[in-house]
């Protein structure tokens, strides 16, 4: 028998619990407590409102370039919400709602988005990496973290986020392959938002789904409706149980859509149509979830307005605090601080450079006074 078929294990499920109009599939509904359902809702609204506020701050020149998340709230909040405090979240850069859920403050995000290194300060005990700008490079870090967790005999897990573009990067493949070989407790979450700046999903891979790449690496994979927070939560909960019980990693593809630009420096009109965007606006994860909560009797029209107003007020306070902090730090800040964290201990030649800059700043300030 020189040529015969090899059985390849694996089929990819697509999971959807709330349909595009917010109708519930009762059989699949995850039984979540009311307070958790409402906390998820508030955090999604916070993400949406904060995005809008940041966009206006950016247009006014009060912060710099940032990557909006509107439309992707469910795709990254659902998975992050299954994590325990001792688990680790490894973000790329479009998971703002997940970061807020894990305890990062609005002020810290504003500082980072306005070019202050202080914005990436991570509070001790907050098990989260700062955002990672080089696409896909953070995927491997989660595998290392997961190795450490397993080595230490815990049942913790690491969850890493990336986009559809990242699945073309070598680091995605190297990381997922290593995790598969050694059953590392990692959940790989792809926010497939269809666009890597101007490159459509169809030009990243010929594969029908991103989730099916799991089959090649011998790990579990699932595609979910990324605009359905019940589905993203349920899929991640299943993956977490698998990881914690020694069943190894899972690749979750959350099919979603970036409703705004890649970053504020991008003009999406150059590469996609308004019709396409409008089609996805109708599948808004927030509206779907509102409908579900209303049907459950957990949310009224009045509460939708009052929650939104309260969140806007919180954001306004946070913006105020952030801008006060920016003033405190100074503009462009204490230049000397750039030397502080190059190494654990400053080496002599760096100290010389620091001292020279200090002397030069003093001199030029004097010259400025004279002039």
């Amino acid at each position: 028998m020189p040529r015969e078929k090899i059985e390849i294990p694996g089929q990819i499920d697509h999971l959807s619990i709330l349909d595009k109009d917010g109708n519930l599939d009762k059989d699949l509904e995850p039984a979540l407590p009311d307070d958790l359902l409402l906390k998820l809702y508030r955090t999604m609204v916070l993400g949406r409102e904060f995005d809008a506020r940041q966009l206006s701050l950016q247009r006014q020149g009060r912060i710099g370039t940032f990557p909006p998340i509107t439309g992707q709230e469910a795709a990254h909040l659902g998975p992050a919400a299954v994590l325990r405090d001792s688990d680790w979240l490894v973000p790329s850069f479009r998971e703002t709602v997940a970061e807020l859920w894990r305890g990062r403050t609005i002020e810290s995000i504003l500082l980072a988005n306005n070019g202050y290194n202080e914005g990436a300060e991570m509070k001790p005990g907050m098990n989260m990496m700062p955002i990672s700008v080089p696409v896909g490079s953070q995927v491997i870090h989660a595998v290392g973290i997961a190795w450490a967790m397993k080595y230490r005999g815990t049942d913790d897990l690491a969850m890493v986020f990336f986009g559809d573009g990242a699945t073309s990067e070598g680091d995605f493949h190297e990381g997922i392959n290593m995790a598969g070989v050694y059953d590392a407790p990692v959940i790989f979450v792809c926010q497939n938002n269809h666009w890597a700046i101007s490159i459509p999903r169809s030009k990243q891979t010929r594969s029908k789904t991103i989730a099916q790449k799991a089959i090649a690496y011998g790990i579990a994979g699932i595609q979910v409706d990324g605009n359905d927070i019940l589905a993203t939560y349920a899929a991640a909960r299943e993956a977490a149980e698998r990881a914690r019980s020694g069943g190894g990693p899972t690749l979750i593809e959350c099919v979603t859509y970036r409703l705004r630009m890649h970053t504020t420096a991008d003009d999406p009109k150059r590469y996609r149509t308004d019709e396409e965007v409008q089609g996805w606006e109708k599948q808004d994860p927030l509206l779907r979830y509102q409908k579900y909560l209303k049907a459950k009797g957990l949310l009224s029209d009045e509460e939708i307005v009052s929650i939104s107003d309260a969140i806007k007020a919180d954001i306004a306070d946070a913006v105020k605090r952030a801008e006060e902090r920016m003033k405190e730090i100074g503009d462009p800040g204490d230049a000397m601080s750039m030397f502080n964290h190059a190494y654990a201990e400053m080496h002599p030649y760096l100290k010389e450079q620091k001292d020279r800059l200090a002397a030069e700043l003093k001199e030029t300030a004097k010259e400025g006074d004279n002039g």
């Binding site: 991570m122 001790p124 995927v139 870090h141 595998v143 290392g144 190059a342 654990a344 080496h347 002599p348």
Partner: protein, 326 residues
């Protein structure tokens, strides 16, 4: 402990640190069952098991990146890239993350990891197996780049590198792996990263070198003594970055003449940095132009011609005599 070659000495450092500290993990290609292609990690798998001595898939970026993740969680990974010529695939992880995490997180996460790899020519190897490109790493703030020259220093420096809170590139001169033996004490020994050493004292000319070039530079110094009556001072740099300029700038104030010897390409190489520091700090004491005896700005030739690329005693002597006669 007796006399050891560099392979055995590095192996001793790994064993003793793994014995002492359960957070030290070794990972890389062929480091487990095979004991490493140069046998540097021999015996570690048997002693410490698969959870601490990891035979990884063939993926250099992953090896470095997983080490970053391990370090974030408090482990102390010592990863091996089989040859420095393949380390450029992992360079991205070292540059983009390992080197930056401390600054990025304002001090919360330092990446305590060591990336070991054999480098340099002289062992009749294939293409990509003979380069000396430590400057790539030395040019990256946040990394430290260490290059031992012999067994005893290799052991002491690796112990220090494993304990260093910052990421250390540990370049091992493979030409020196089994070239000679030295007494290596059984008891723990460390050597400070960021410090050079005067290995031969002299008053007439200063040689600055490191790695596999140290032995031939010492040979050249002996010849100068015998044939020319010249007393040469030889400084073993040991850490390329951050560079200890104190010893060599002081030495040159005494000798006025300096020859820098390294295998790395000349332009933008470590010697260029040494020359700059000398001009900054000892300019008025220089009695002759700074001389560099180094590899050339070409791809290192295959091994039939590599001896013409790599500095040898003759070239070092020639450089020294020209400098002295200036």
């Amino acid at each position: 402990m007796g006399k050891m070659n560099m392979v055995e000495a590095i192996n001793l450092a790994l064993k003793q640190e793994m014995e002492k500290d359960g957070d030290v993990i070794v990972l890389g290609e062929d480091v487990g069952v095979d004991g490493g292609v140069f046998r540097v990690t021999e015996g570690l798998l048997d002693a410490y098991g698969e959870e601490r001595v990891i035979d990884t898939p063939l993926a250099e970026s992953m090896i470095a990146g997983a080490s970053v993740g391990m370090a974030i969680h408090g482990l102390k990974p010592v990863c091996e890239i089989q040859f420095s010529g393949f380390s450029y695939i992992s360079f991205h992880q070292m540059e983009a993350h390992a080197a930056r995490y401390r600054a990025r997180t304002q001090g919360r996460f330092g990446i305590q990891m060591v990336l070991r790899c054999p480098y340099g020519g002289g062992v009749r190897a294939l293409e990509h197996h003979s380069e000396s490109r430590e400057a790539y790493y030395a040019h990256t703030p946040g990394l430290k780049t260490v290059i031992p020259s012999g067994p005893r220093k290799a052991r002491a420096l690796l112990v220090s590198a494993i304990r260093d809170p910052d990421p250390v590139i540990f370049y091992e001169p493979k030409a020196a792996y089994r070239a000679f033996r030295e007494e290596v004490p059984e008891d723990e020994e460390t050597f400070p990263i960021g410090e050079s050493e005067i290995v031969r004292e002299g008053k007439d000319i200063t040689f600055i070198t490191y790695g596999a070039m140290l032995q031939r530079t010492l040979d050249a110094a002996d010849t100068l003594q015998e044939e020319d009556g010249v007393e040469a001072e030889v400084i073993d740099l040991l850490t390329v970055s951050p560079m200890d300029d104190q010893k060599f700038t002081e030495s040159v104030r005494k000798t006025g003449h300096v020859v820098i010897v390294h295998e790395a390409h000349r332009s933008f190489g470590p010697g260029a940095e040494m020359a700059a520091r000398l001009v900054e700090k000892s300019f008025l004491y220089l009695e002759a132009p700074i001389r560099r005896v180094t590899g050339y700005d070409v791809v290192i030739p295959l091994y039939q011609r590599e001896k013409d690329y790599i500095p040898d005693v003759k070239r070092i002597l020639h450089g020294a005599r020209e400098t002295l006669e200036f």
